[in-house]
Amino acid sequence: MMKKFIYSIIAITLLVSVTSCDKESLEPTLAQIKDVATSIKTVDDLQGILFGAYNRMTNYNYYGRNVIIYGEVRSDNAFADGNSARLTTVSNMDMLYTDSDASATWTQIYTVIASTNVIIGADLDKITGDATKIDHIIGQAYAIRALAHFDLLRIYGQQHVTTGQNIGVPYVKTYKGSKETLFPIRNTVAECKQFIMEDLTTATSKMSTSLNDNSKQLMTTYGAQALAARVALYFKDWTTAKSMASIVIASNKYSIIDANKYAASWSIDGSVNSIFELGYSNIDNEWINGLANIYRYSDYGDVRALPNILTIFDDNDVRGGTVAGTAMIDWDAVANFKLRNIGKYPSRSFDDNVPLIRYEEVILIYAEAALETGDAATALIYLNMVPAKRGANLYTIADKDNILLERRKELCFEGFRFDDLARTNSDIPLSDPVLQTHGGPAYGSYKYAFPIPQVEMLANSNMVQNYGY
């Protein structure tokens, strides 16, 4: 009996011996990720998340390539030739609700917003560090949130679709908010505009000019104000556009780049005309998905300039295609019948920063706002500041056409052209019906907005599809 008892003890001891079944034995190791709730504790953590937001902006579905290209191939500047089937549906302005570009950009921009909302919603009581610094970070987050929503709005909003009833995009202000935020509704265009401007105002008030980053790779007070000028211009709020632009101009921090430095400035980080640019190092983008590749190179170089654009530049304009050694637009060296943007985003190693706000834009915003508010004389002065430093002829009058023309010359291939056409209620010009496959949609066409991606429609019954899709 005793023997059996002892054996039983041995048996049970053996049974449980290998598995010291304490709780830790089932706790997974978090080696390279951390828990959200407990990991934001210092100003450095906030700073890291802010860097994360910037990093998400560099993705090729956002400013790394596509959002810039969307503004070009839907215009009279460029088109996608389908060489490797990239961006053809955008270029054709013939998208379906299942379009993968529409879905990828929507998704990517909202990840940026999520990052900013983690910062904005952080519990400040639990974060250690200098309060001014924390505020400066939070201010940047507000500015980026505004920029991201503005980008969504101009791509997906219904403000230029005649039957679109002015629906905008969901303006998201919290990360993982209540259950309702899982199924947001689309705010109106007016609400979106209001929220964007509010966010930019908050941004400016939270940030300190003394903490503005000199590398231009982070958002600054002037960046937020320049952005406010851009948004105001888009919505024809000329007074705000003018006042915001004037603050940036008055800062004396920036200047228009000289003609002889213009071409080289595209390979230089933080040049004098840059207000805000996204920092890229050579590991930030797969080359095949980069801007340089899609504009410049024969393999994967799907986005070609339309020949018509060569005709808008004066002979000595450094932005055109005829100035020896500094040509910004030229025929492809391999297949010489393809016209290409070779001046902007030139480096195939992808370490060129991508400028998002340049001083020249602010000058032209100021000129346009001045014109629209009845000060044509000032407008002309500001309008001519740009061509004066480009080797181009000066304008004799400041009218809307000249300002838009100068914007097209200065900002071509940077993603502004479609919005300039749309905000001035213009049709998409058909300068080359053979190469431009969109057929020149008229202003107000449903094609002026992207479809709301089907993945979003399926996940959220509050979402309303854009007219026409």
Partner: protein, 1140 residues
């Protein structure tokens, strides 16, 4: 079959050991009516016993105590015997037994250490008629030439028979030359042999797939087939060994009802989608659990590296099962229902595949050598691409159709218009100017008659104390496309030893290296050689005029794959070492402790080098990346088994088991660019742009298992299993789940009322019900987390990477199963029928989130799905005779899958799940991922424009794709029925085996048609069209499915997603056809070898496809998409098998 198992087991060890069970079945078959035998196998050792007035059982127990002998008897036989007294000194065992049984009606039989006590009356009956008989003798062997001790040799129609001795020999007196010998042995097919003039016989038995007495490997042990309450199918290693596939799972196709295997790629060694009874989960894993020698293993792909491009993953996969050599496998058992899988707990919810490897066999060392050599080609051709002249014709036609009228030129003048407007980007012009050189890219990438070879050598042997099995194998398989091959070497040593009478130890080590070179599949363009024909322009020649690979062409963005195959490097290299050790200790009688430790270490390397001269690496001056992944998996199991016998007839066995599993995965990656010279491919030589990455994950599982099995007289069987399991994949509070199953079986044919019906040899019903679960989601999936692997301007960046759900817990399924097993006419017809119903609920589901959250989905326990169906297996012995044997089997299964519940959004609207939004959707009331797309209505004969149904069903049509509606197509990607058939014929020494499999009821979608079936410039300029485009509409009234050629990139969206490219998935395929010759014993003995067999095997020789529109192989991955992956292969293999 009556009174089967009507035995009281005095020794629990019998239950546990396969070999002993074989012997047990020997004994049982004697109980079943075999009545004469010779005692043999005397052991050394004598007995001195002095006992007075004890029961005979007590005497037996004394003998068991002082020796290795174990007694087996029917309890009833000992009833009513007088108590005996015994007084012996130095007597041998025979004397002891004689003394014990003196005066009883019993006799003894010694079989090694087992002593069988049984009634002796009938023996005497036979002795009485002995005089008129003729003497015969012989030997019974298995087909490997190994003698079969314990086989039954019976004179048909009489009860006259013997059991073979330990060398497989027998001698018997039979009534005359007209007598027929019936030779049977458990696990083998019964043979009938006419006595004729012969007096000496060498009888070879073939293993049986349908034997009722088969031992089935189940959860943590083995059981007799009649003891099982669950739904299982066992496939013997012999059925798998010779099938020339790189990984053993591929060989199961068509052999098991309810199991479907779909190849994600035909590239040797690549991962297979295996589904047992359909798809239990929408977005969590549906792969079955693999158990090797009692240990849950890491299966899946060791390398799923690749990028995502245009929404499809460009991948390269290598299944970890490729590390096993199929010749080392003893059997594979498929466990399907709750009762069978419950021992493996939650992870068994998608079914369990239990692989048992070969162990050492006692006896003289036996060598087994097999070699095969063959060649293979694509089983289906697929589509051909347009050649240069065809493409020119279509391009000019498209130009004329679109611009001719408006610009006033004729079709003949189209070329001039192309030149003038440079519509072709000079590609056609260059080709025309070069004199239209012929180019065939289909041909260029094809590797015809790719060799496949397999060599393996094994040795097994041992003695009473120890045994071993050792093997070595080498496999080399080239793919049917250039640049891909697979090589494997394996080495196995399995060793077992008895430390003490009650302590045994066994260990097994399996080390293998697998090397798979191959390009990324699944995507399009350069990475995939299969795609070359559709992406390379036929106006560019693969080789230049000097015969060199052409890399100097212009006007194409695509690279010459031939150059890449030669100068780029892509490989997966997996080295895997598995060690599995096991110790068994019988603490006291009927109480056994077992401990098992398994260590599985896999190192895989995935290397990619892109050369400096041509291709993706050119712009970077060469690039190289290397990924090293180390996976360590540790399983420890301790268990206690206890066997209780209550009132003689009630046998209850109880098992308690603790299992802990931990898995660690460590990954290190490196990357570099800019190589200083050709021929250097390692990162160290890269000049710039170094990048490094790492990842570490671990997960663990802890389980407590209890199993009770009750057996009454072998008639009524009941079992109950409960398992409490904790997984690190859930938050601490929700970590544990409790799962259980209950099963019962009634062996009706054991009952008196059926035992008199001769033609029923076996009839049993079984049923089971249970709750099981799944945790097949990502590691750490419950956590709302921040990731730190990003950077911005040189600073570490943090981002939200997982939405998280702390409430996440086990997915559950309720599984019921009812089945009947039958065998009629001495099991000449046998089989089983089962119905199952499996409801999965609290699905671990990736619920799509509004992207405005910054996340695309999160995991929730929501939704439910039902799978139900029937399974039917039947096997026939059509003819059994000395020279000619024919048998056939057939299996069939149906599967009805329906989603019954999904997540709802804030407005109560169902959130449907899709993996390709314009093609499929999972919605309540429909089958999972049912096809949901726009419906094609053909080509308008009047104008050649494509048409679709406006409402997606019928009626009004439109040529404007964007206004056509998506609609349900009634079919999903998973087959609703599947099955297989096999036929075996042997005539004298020749044999033929044929296996076919079939499935259908599903639909499959052809992936890349939106490129190569476009009647626009994508197919005529950017990519290359398929040859079918030549059937395009040309003139009003033309009836065709190919629209008019037009000059637009997408050809009026005619090749966008629609039912135009959705096909019925029904097919039937001749999987295997083997023809062979098994050399007779007389030749073998002259050659002094034990066995020699030669055969030729054809794989995938024939296929019938229901939907003639389908040009690609209907064997596709479980998602139902057919792409440009390597299709299954058709092979012819010559082999030989030698035993000595």
């Amino acid at each position: 079959m009556k009174n089967f198992l009507h035995v009281s087991f005095r020794d629990s060890r019998i239950r546990r050991n396969f070999l002993i069970l074989m012997k047990l079945s020997l004994i049982l078959s004697m109980v079943l009516g075999v009545i004469s035998a010779q005692a043999n196998g005397q052991k050394e050792g004598t007995f001195s016993l002095k006992l007075e007035n004890v029961s005979i059982e007590n005497v037996f127990r004394e003998i068991e105590k002082s020796s290795n002998y174990r007694f087996i008897y029917q309890v009833d036989d000992l009833k009513g015997l007088n108590q005996i007294s015994i007084d012996l000194k130095d007597a041998d065992i025979n004397n002891v037994l004689t003394e014990c049984l003196k005066g009883s009606q019993l006799e003894s039989l010694i079989e090694n250490e087992y002593i069988i006590i049984r009634k002796s009356m009938e023996v005497k009956t036979i002795k009485a008629i002995e005089v008129s008989l003729i003497n015969i003798k012989g030997k019974v062997l298995d087909k490997d030439g190994i003698s079969l001790p314990g086989a039954t040799v019976l004179e048909e129609g009489t009860s006259n028979g013997v059991i073979t001795d330990q060398n497989g020999n027998f001698s018997l007196k039979v009534t005359g030359s007209a007598s027929v010998l019936k030779v049977s042995f458990i696990g083998f097919e019964t043979q009938f042999i006419e006595v004729g003039d012969k007096t000496e016989f060498s009888i070879v038995l073939n293993p049986s797939a349908t034997s009722l007495n088969e031992v089935i490997v189940v959860g943590y042990g083995t059981k007799g087939k009649n003891e099982i309450t669950g739904s299982t199918v066992q496939v013997s290693g012999a059925q798998l060994a010779q099938i020339p596939v790189a990984s053993v799972d591929q060989a199961l196709q068509g052999k098991v009802a309810g199991l479907t295997i779909s190849a994600t790629s035909g590239t040797p060694g690549s991962f297979q989608d295996i589904r047992i009874r359909g798809m239990g989960s929408l977005t969590a894993g549906n792969d079955p659990l693999f158990v090797i020698d009692g240990v849950p293993m890491i299966s899946g792909s060791v390398s799923n590296v690749g990028t995502t491009s245009w929404g499809t993953s460009v991948r390269s996969s290598l299944t970890s099962l490729a590390s096993l050599n199929s010749a080392d496998i003893e059997s594979i058992t498929i466990l399907k229902d709750a009762s069978a899988t419950s021992a493996y707990g939650a992870r068994g919810s998608n079914g369990v595949i239990v692989i048992t490897t070969k162990k050492g066999k006692s006896g003289k060392t036996q060598f087994d050598f097999s070699a095969s050599h063959g060649f293979q080609n694509d089983a289906t051709k697929g589509r051909l691409a347009l050649n240069g002249a065809q493409r020119e014709e279509l391009l000019l036609e498209a130009i004329y159709n679109t611009y001719g009228q408006a610009n006033g030129f004729s079709e003949a003048e189209a070329y001039s218009y192309v030149v003038a407007k440079n519509k072709d980007n000079r590609t056609l012009q260059n080709w025309v100017n070069a004199g239209r050189p012929f180019a065939d890219w289909n041909e260029a990438v094809d590797s015809k008659n790719a060799p496949v070879q397999n060599v393996s050598l094994s040795a097994t042997g041992g003695d009473d104390l120890q045994s071993f099995y050792a093997s070595f194998s080498y496999n080399k398989t080239e793919a049917t496309v250039i640049g891909n091959d697979f090589k494997r070497v394996t080495g196995v040593l399995s060793y077992g030893r008895k430390f003490r009478n009650n302590l045994t130890f066994s260990t097994r080590a399996n080390v293998s290296n697998n090397h798979q070179t191959g390009f990324l599949e699944g995507g399009r363009q350069f990475a995939n050689p299969r795609a070359a024909a559709f992406f390379m322009s036929p106006w560019i020649t693969p080789y230049d005029e000097d015969g060199n690979i052409n890399i100097s062409y212009k006007g194409s963005v695509y690279y010459n794959y031939l150059y890449l195959a030669k100068h780029d490097i892509t490989y997966n290299d997996l080295t895997r070492a598995i060690s599995n050790s096991n110790i068994e200790w019988e603490i006291v009688k009927n109480l056994k402790f077992k401990s098992r430790i398994s260590l599985d270490y896999a190192i895989s390397e995935y290397k990619v080098y892109r050369n400096r001269i041509h291709g993706d690496g050119k712009a970077l001056n060469g690039s190289s990346s290397d990924q090293i992944e180390r996976n360590f998996n540790y399983v420890a199991q301790n268990s206690l088994d206890y066997l209780m016998v209550y009132k003689e007839n009630h046998r209850i066995s109880v098992t308690a088991l603790l299992e802990y599993q931990k898995n660690k995965q460590n990954r290190l990656t490196g990357y570099g660019e800019n190589f200083p010279a050709d021929g250097l491919t390692n990162i160290d030589n890269a000049g710039s742009n170094y990048q490094a990455g790492s990842s570490f994950y671990d997960w663990s599982n802890l389980s407590y298992l209890g199993m009770v099995n009750y057996n009454y007289l072998g008639r009524y069987i009941a079992d109950f299993t409960i398992r409490r399991e904790g997984s690190s994949r859930f938050e601490a509070a929700n970590r544990y789940g409790t799962f259980w199953a209950a099963g019962a079986a009634w062996n009706m044919s054991q009952e008196k009322f059926l035992s008199d019906i001769d033609w029923i040899s076996n009839l049993r019903v079984r049923a089971s019900y249970g709750l099981s679960g799944s945790s097949a989601i990502g590691i750490n999936g419950y956590q709302a987390s921040l990731a730190y692997d990003a950077n911005y301007i040189g600073n570490g960046a943090i981002y939200t990477n997982q939405y998280g759900n702390s409430e996440l817990t086990w997915e559950k399924n309720k599984n019921s199963d009812i089945g009947i097993d039958f065998g009629f006419f001495d099991n000449a017809i046998s089989g089983s029928f089962a119905y199952f119903h499996k409801k999965t609920y609290d699905l671990l589901q990736n619920v799509p989130l509004s992207r405005s959250t910054g996340h695309s989905s999160y995991t929730e326990n929501v939704g439910a799905m039902v799978n139900k169906g029937i399974e039917f297996i039947v096997a026939f012995d059509i003819l059994k005779s000395k020279d000619l044997n024919i048998n056939a089997s057939f299996n069939f299964a149906t599967l009805d899958n329906e989603v019954t519940e999904l997540a709802y959004d804030g407005n109560g609207v169902e959130i449907s799940i899709s993996n390709s939004i314009d093609k499929n959707k999972s919605s309540v009331g429909h089958t999972a991922y049912e096809w949901y797309m726009i419906k094609w209505a053909g080509v308008d004969p009047a104008n050649g424009l494509p048409l679709w149904y406006v409402n997606g069903v019928d009626g009004e049509t439109t040529s404007n794709y964007s206004i056509a509606a998506q609609a349900w197509q009634g079919k999903g990607p998973l087959p609703t029925y599947s099955g297989g058939m096999s036929l075996h014929v042997d005539y004298k020494n020749f044999f033929v085996d044929a296996n076919a499999s079939f499935q259908g009821g599903n639909a499959i979608y052809e992936m890349w048609t939106n490129l190569y079936m476009v009647n626009g410039t994508q197919a005529l300029l950017s990519f290359n069209g398929a040859a079918e485009l030549m059937n395009r509409w040309q003139n009003p009234g033309d009836i065709t499915d190919i629209p008019k050629m037009v000059w637009s990139s997408d050809g009026n969206k005619s090749a966008n997603t629609s039912t135009r490219f959705l096909y019925d998935g029904d097919y039937m395929r001749l999987k295997d056809l083997v023809f062979g010759y098994d050399f007779s014993k007389s030749i073998l003995s002259k050659l002094k070898i034990n066995g020699l067999k030669v055969y030729v095997r054809g794989t995938n020789l024939l296929i019938w496809v229901k939907d003639k529109r389908l040009k690609y192989d209907p064997e596709v991955g479980a998602d139902g998409f057919t792409g440009l992956e390597t299709p299954p292969v058709k092979s012819i293999v010559f082999g030989l098998n030698l035993k000595f």
